[in-house]
Symmetry: C2
Subunit: 336 residues, 2 copies
């Protein structure tokens, strides 16, 4: 029996707990397929799981929500024509029937189901999508989780229209950089915030109209000066004081989409701003099958993901260290 | 020259600063009309202004946003057929062109413009609406500000549908009791919270399906038990810790409308709840001309406002004391 190589998380801890080893090959249940992965990509979720800061951790588990490769085996009730096709995997499983919100059976690939830091992964066949031909496997692996999250935040939730001004906080991370790409593609004018001038410069190269350093406590004012107005929409994954500033910054009647809270809860939330400005504060996480398919069409139409680094699977620990240092701009990819 | 009687706020302070006196009659500018008021009603806004807790206070001013009476004089460019008609006054002036949010010129009757604690009030003619014939002047005066705020919160913002479960926090206050009436009228099943068992009982008599005391720190659990599920919508004017509990209480994918923050800012806002539950947090204040007209149709179709107390204009101080004690259920009205 062939043994695949995979990075199995057996104990929580620092990046060095991530070591490649040989484990039994997965085989498809009915309705499933097995993909020979060519590339995976990291998400902050992987770091939170590895360090024990995630709900429902069950070990051992193979991390990884993002993957691209070729289908090598199909289970019962799956069209065998999938075999040999180059695919990208939708990491949202069992969303449920309500487009507004995931149901209680919702799962994300890479916990509890084994994920993509592996040579093979077993997934429901309806998670398979043809890889856009112009994308390499590394580029394709950079797309799924971050792009579907950004797409849902911008399109399904904020309904960003061409010509609107959009601020994306904390550029550099996966969802934020995808929001920059997708927002620009939709015809919005996108501004960013970052702690790093180099990242603001990189954002400009990828289509941002401007940006400010969040080390300036008056950054909302600086941004309003750049835009010449308040923005219509703020897309925020930071939370904490940034969320309060987003409520202050955004135009009356505007939308603030929250997709995360890396800075934690908000202290002293000024509710007065929410009601007096008639704001829409819209929570968003991951995306539906429909969100994923619509997002993928943007890439099929020529959108190019931003890859920060490509490392071999054996260097998953090194890849996690890079993510924890927060120096990346775009996705950190593992070549398999 | 006839001198009307009015309660003029000349200095900030306790309720006793509210004394009726004689002041010159108002006369209409072009586009305006003068209404001989038969009744006015109180809002918390009046108390906040009297005690100096409101932006843009300019003294002296006649307080009062709610009024009903008869048109006695019309200015240039106003159809003189208004004269003699029994009217109810829309207290939102100069909303602006954007249905989503009031513009910078927006004003509320009763500051800076003189309001309805008076025998006569001068208002823009487009603020006039025919009084629903089955309502007395006291009942009609109980409608405007609270009902338009509740209507916009429930209908324009939350888009409450028949059959949905709606929780209204802090029943007893003007907007909350109007939200109970309007929500029930829309076919929603309305639950309430209050610090007073008597108010919960009163809410039941006015159509509430149930209610819980917010003195129970586990009140969201108690409410879920009553409803048999989480509610689709929470309408909150309290803010503070109640807002956090509303985010916890509401159904995933649900809506929380905030129209006020009597408890002040929120500490430790759990943003995670907003994004993971894909919530819509919708700010709302006052309402547009369209909101007002649509709200008024509900009353014209037979909805009956809740009047707590009727006192003569000379007892405005006593009326304010009653509002500050917070014992009222429904509107406190001044007969003029």
């Amino acid at each position: 029996m062939y043994q695949m190589r995979a990075v199995v998380l057996r104990t929580l801890g620092d990046p060095d707990v991530l070591r490649a080893e040989e484990v039994p090959d997965p085989h498809p249940d009915p309705g499933e397929a097995v993909v020979r992965l060519r590339a995976a990509a990291l998400n902050h979720r992987d770091v939170w799981i590895r360090t024990g800061r995630y709900a429902g951790i069950k070990l051992p588990v193979i991390l990884g929500s993002d993957g691209a490769g070729e289908v090598v085996e199909t289970g019962a009730n799956v069209d065998p024509a999938w075999c040999g096709r180059a695919v990208i995997i939708d990491p949202s499983f069992n969303w449920g029937d309500d487009e507004r919100v995931q149901g209680p059976a919702f799962q994300i690939l890479g916990l509890p189901r084994d994920g993509t830091y592996a040579e093979l992964v077993r997934v429901p066949a309806d998670a398979l999508h043809d890889k856009p031909p112009h994308l390499s496997f590394e580029e394709a692996a950079a797309v799924p989780l971050a792009s579907v999250t950004a797409y849902r935040a911008l399109v399904t939730r904020a309904q960003v229209a061409s010509g609107e001004d959009v601020v994306v906080t904390g550029i550099g991370g996966g969802v934020a950089t995808c929001a920059l790409l997708i927002g620009t593609r939709l015809g919005a004018t996108v501004y960013v915030t970052s702690g790093s001038e180099a990242k603001i410069e990189a954002a400009r190269r990828h289509g941002a109209a401007g940006g400010v350093s969040y080390h300036d406590p008056e950054w909302p004012k600086a941004l309003i000066a750049q835009i010449g107005d308040r923005p219509d929409v703020v897309i925020d994954g930071a939370g904490g004081d940034t969320f309060n500033k987003a409520l202050d910054l955004v135009k009356p009647g505007g939308r603030v989409v929250s997709y995360g809270a890396t800075l934690g809860p908000v202290q002293g939330l000024e509710i007065r701003r929410i009601f007096w400005k008639q704001l829409n504060v819209l929570g968003s996480t991951m995306g539906t099958r429909r969100d994923f398919a619509a997002m993928l069409r943007l890439y099929a139409d020529g959108l190019q993901p931003i890859v920060d680094t490509v490392l071999p699977l054996d260097q998953a620990a090194e890849a996690h260290r890079r993510m924890e240092e927060g120096q990346q701009f775009g996705k950190i990819v593992l070549r398999i």
